[in-house]
Structures are given as C-alpha cells and as structure tokens.
C-alpha cells in the first residue's frame, strides 16, 4: 500500500501523529480540507464558497461529521462542486482536532498544515484563495456577513456517541412541515382568540383555512416553501405562514407578490433585522414602494402618505410587522427591547409620488429600471416634520431641511447616522426649479449639514463627543462645524405627500453601514 505524506499531521516541521488517510487526497498537491456539520448554519453559508476553488489546481475535500443521508442532502441542496467524504467515527476530525466547524486546513504539497481558518470569515477565505494563487472567492457585497461564528465540532460534544445531526431546527431545508390547523370550539370568539395569541394588540382577521388558501393560490409556490428564516428566533417563514399573517393584517391576495420579496429583503444579512428587532433604539423597518405596483395594488403616495389612508400601505406594513412578531418572535414585551418604540411598528409603508417628482424615481437612483416595481427597506426613526412656507428659493428650502438633518440620532453625533429626506412635492418642485438635480440637492444637503464645533466639550462628554477625533471640520455659513454625514450617499431623497403644503420630513436611522443596518432594495415581480 502506498504511503501518502498526507497520512501524518505535522506541527511546524515535526511529524507528531499518524492520522487516518483522507479519502481521495492526492500527494504532491496543495489541498484544502474543510470539516463541517450538515445542520450548522455557518457551514451551510461557508462551504459553497469553496466551489469556486475546486476547478483550480488545489484539491478541496469536504469532510462531513454527519451521516450519509444528511451529507448527500447537504451536497445536493448547496450544489457543492468538490468531493465530500464522510468522517466515520470522527477519526480524521479527532486527529486535526478543530474547536469548531467549519474548519479549513490549508495543506502544502507535503501534507503539512500551512494555515487554519475556523468559522465563516470572508477575509480568511480570500487569504486562503490567495495562498493557492487564486482570485478572491468571497465578495464583500454578496449579502452575506463578513464573518459568522461556527458551531462546536462534533467530537467535542460530550453527549454525542456517534456522528449525526442533533435535534432542533434544520436550517437547510427549503420546505417545512405544513402549519398546524387550530380548530376553535364554538364558545371561543375567533377574533378575540387571534388578537390575544397572534395580534398586534388590535383585533385581526382570523386566518381561516379558506382565507389562507386563497392567499397562497396567488403565489404559485407550495404552501410549505420556506421563503426566509426570520430573526431573532429564526422562525421559518413559509408561504402559508406569511399568507396567514397577511390575512390577519387585512391584505388582499395580490399583496403576496410584495410580501415575499419584502420578507426576503428583511432577512438579507445586510439589513440586519436581528439587530433592528432587538435594539433599545427607536428603529422600525420603513418600507418604501416604487414603480407600477403602486397603481396595480393601490399603494398611496400622496396626502397623508404616513397615515391610515390606503389599504395597500396599511395592510402591507401591518402584515410585515405581524410576520416579524409571530414568525420572528420580536415581541415588543420581550426580545424587542426598544426603550420608547416607534408608532411605525403598527405599520410603516409609503410609496413615492413619482408623478409629482421632478426627478427620477428612488428605485432608479438605487439602480433598478423605471418600469421595475421595487421595495426598499430602511431601519428608521419616526418622521420629523420640516415646515418651510416662506422661503422663495430652493437653496433656502434645502438649508431649512439641513437644520433638521443635523439633529438626527442626536445633535452632536456625526458619521454614524444616515437619513431619508421625504420631500413634499411643493418643496421638490421649488428645489428643481432653481436648477438642482436630485444628486445636486443631496450634495448641497451633505455639504451644508453640520454641527458647530463650539458645541463640543471634552469635559461634558456628551454623546457624539467621543468620536470627534474622526469628524471632518468644515466651514458652514461662516462657522466652523463638524460635517454631520460621512458621505452624500448617507442621505436619500424620496418624494412623497400631497401637492398642497410646503412640508417635508426627515427620518433618522439606526446604526448604519456594515456594523449596523444597510438599506436594501429588492425588485417586486410583475403580476
């Protein structure tokens, strides 16, 4: 029998232990071994990235700590393109002894461990690719987080006698069990039952089997199809459960084509709904609708746009909140720890008044086509009104708005927040008439929003002062100020509201960027 150099584990240059052969591993070639568990969400996230490497010169071998059936299912569902072997009785695992999985070992041509990586780490994966002379394999903007901790390796689990997935949520599956049916006795009022068990403190429409089925039929997907897993408890949002919440909120069946991408957008790692749902801050997800779907489903974009004016806005926003509550478990008397909350947690959905806007629609600014319906999600504070009825010039209107913008998060806090400026049509027209494009209006707001340096005192230690060393000092209206926002892109302009009344609104954010919540825009399929 040929003795492969890979049969030994080395520490530095010293061979310390003979280890079981890794099936399929060829000597004389660099290799990546990756240990994984089939039900570990981090393994499920990480392993597909290596498929980009497998066609290259390096050998990639997956080593499953689980049984054959679940490993086959893992490989099939995640389209793993490299060989995967079962680590029976965890013999190879015990030799390498990773603390957690996924665990990646880069072996040189002689089978020596050159480097090791645990968990999901985009930078680490790209370093691994680089060491193999390969281009980066993990893009920073693919929706996955930069890093995610792994799970304890099976061989370190004291109760585990043999390899096999533990009980609990199976993160992999695309299809879940059907939702339970609850038959209420005649003496139980279904409205009161549903309000107390599944409501937003207000009565809801009971999600009877017939109503839910009508909602599901509007989708064309199996009722048990899993659309997303909703933080913070990662409940499986199946088509059927989304439909049940849509019924409760008063949606029409046509709303399902908006709700499915909305749930996916909310669970996009960039949006970080886990943090938005659990924070002590005011944030609530604001849904912004653009494109033909406004007309098709009756989304309102005019007077009272933030109010209780249209079934589409109110029921979509409410259904979304009920999904976060019932499936995601973000209960306002539990995991949702917001100190003061937000009235938007009943419903927070607006549409752009594209017809009265002098500029291209918001979703076009976000990179989609004009005829594409779209939704955008922003982790938002409540709207703060700005009245400006006397200024005749667009420049002055923008300046008035900049004073409100300076106060988001809190006055002295710069760089951290972002903001949505909801321009009323009258303000938008005045600003455009005076020659501002949308981009120029945003640039003006960026350059003219600041906080005077004289308001900062090291001894008072007011919030925002601790970051002052990072702030940029600029001169605004003759005064030395710290620039409020980190870039013009931190400000978004959205035109909405009625054509009478020179009002706009400024909406502050939660923590932003990769360390907080990033705005996401998703297309809504055509009907």
């Amino acid at each position: 029998m040929q003795t492969s150099p890979h049969l030994y584990l080395y520490k530095g240059m010293q061979q310390v232990e003979q280890i079981p052969a890794v099936p399929g591993l060829l000597p004389g070639k660099k290799a990546v071994l990756v240990f994984f568990e089939t039900d570990c969400p981090t393994c499920q996230l990480a392993l597909p990235y290596l498929s980009a490497l497998s066609a290259d010169s390096a050998q990639v071998i997956g080593l499953s700590q689980d049984d054959e059936a679940s490993t086959r299912e893992f490989v099939r569902q995640l389209k793993i393109a490299y060989p995967v072997e079962l680590d029976r009785e965890l013999k190879i695992t015990r030799a390498y002894n990773p603390e957690s999985v996924p665990a990646f070992y880069l072996l040189d041509e002689g089978g020596r461990v050159q480097s090791k990586l645990v968990g999901f780490d985009k930078e680490g994966l790209n370093d691994l690719a680089k060491a193999l002379g390969h281009a980066p394999i993990a893009s920073s903007d693919d929706g996955a987080p930069p890093f995610k901790p792994g799970c304890s390796s099976r061989h370190l689990e004291p109760q585990v006698q043999s390899a096999g997935p533990r009980d609990g949520i199976h993160f992999l599956r695309r299809v879940a069990e059907p939702a339970s049916r609850i038959t209420l006795k005649d003496d139980i009022d279904p409205f009161e039952y549903c309000r107390s068990k599944f409501g937003d403190a207000l009565p809801v429409i009971p999600p009877t089997v017939e109503r839910v089925e009508a909602m599901v039929r509007a989708v064309g997907l199996a009722p048990e199809s899993v659309i997303a897993r909703v933080p913070p408890v990662y409940g499986e949002a199946t088509v059927e459960k989304i439909a049940a919440n849509a019924v409760m909120a008063g949606c029409e069946p046509g709303m399902m084509r908006v709700l499915l991408p909305l749930v996916r957008a909310a669970c996009d790692e960039r949006f970080n709904i886990h943090g938005v749902q659990a924070t002590t801050h005011f944030a609530a997800p604001l849904v912004m609708i653009n494109g033909p779907v406004r007309e098709e489903l009756g989304f309102w974009s005019k007077q009272n746009v933030f109010s209780n004016v249209a079934r589409a806005n109110s029921s979509l926003g409410r259904a979304f909140q009920l999904i976060l509550l019932n499936i995601g478990g973000g209960r306002p008397d539990g995991i949702d720890m917001s100190a003061l909350g937000n009235p938007g947690k009943f419903s927070f959905c607006i549409a752009e008044n594209e017809e009265e806007s002098p500029w291209e629609p918001f979703h076009v600014t976000r990179g989609l086509g004009r005829e594409q319906s779209a939704l955008s999600l922003f982790a938002a504070e409540a709207p703060h009104g700005v009245s400006e009825h006397t200024a005749p010039h667009g420049r002055t209107v923008l300046e008035t708005i900049s004073f409100a913008l300076a106060t988001v998060w809190s006055y002295r806090m710069c760089l951290v927040p972002e903001a949505i400026v909801v321009l009323g049509p009258e303000h938008a027209k005045t600003i455009a008439r005076d020659g501002f494009s949308k981009g120029q209006a945003r640039q003006f707001l960026f350059e003219n929003t600041g906080v005077p340096v004289r308001y900062y005192s090291a001894t008072e230690r007011a919030e925002g002062t601790q970051l002052a060393a990072n702030y940029k000092e600029v001169t605004i209206r003759g005064e030395s100020c710290y620039q409020k926002f980190r870039s013009p892109e931190a400000i978004s302009i959205f035109v909405a509201g009625g054509t009478a009344g020179k009002f706009s609104a400024v909406i502050g954010s939660w923590a932003t960027g990769p360390a907080g919540s990033q705005m996401v825009t998703y297309p809504i399929p055509d009907k």
Partner: protein, 93 residues
C-alpha cells in the same frame, strides 16, 4: 360552526442550551471579559478586571472586544474565549 385557522406563528421554538456547570470560585481561574463595544464598556470592564484580579484572585483575565454591538461576535473572538474557564459579557451604555 367551529372555525379552523392556520397557525401563523413559529412552531419550532428554539431549545435553550443547557448552562455549563457553575465555577466554585474565581480564584486561579482564567476569566474572559467580552466587551460588546458599546460606549463606556471599557471603563466598566477595566474596573471589573481589576476586581477579579485583586479581590478574587483570578489567574488571568482575557479581554476581547466585538467589532460591533449590533451583530454576533466573529468566529475568531469566540475561538479565543473557548480557552477560558468562564466568560463575562459586558453590556454598557
């Protein structure tokens, strides 16, 4: 007539993990302090470290800091803290 509804909530409630055995004492132990990176956390944990060392005789205090309080700790930090006997996660504002 009896009404039948479709369960609209999460039916797979996650199981809470069993807490590990409690330490009998801190003396001679390696204690991890995880700063979630909220403002003020370091002041609180600096003092806690001092108390753990001087008053309770901790053998070592391992300090780690999350890059952001809004998300889970990255894998590297979890790995570092696996080597200690107990971890105190510090919230502060």
């Amino acid at each position: 007539m009896a009404v039948t509804i479709v369960h609209p909530g999460n039916e797979n409630a996650p199981k809470a993990a069993e807490p590990p055995p409690r330490l009998a004492g801190v003396a001679g132990k390696r204690i991890g302090l995880l700063d979630i990176s909220k403002p003020g956390g370091s002041f609180f944990l600096d003092r806690l470290e001092e108390i753990l060392r001087t008053k309770y005789g901790a053998a070592e205090v391992v300090r780690a800091r999350k890059p952001t309080y809004t998300k889970n700790a990255p894998a590297q930090i979890i790995e570092r803290l696996r080597a200690v006997d107990a971890v105190i996660e510090g919230l502060a504002d």
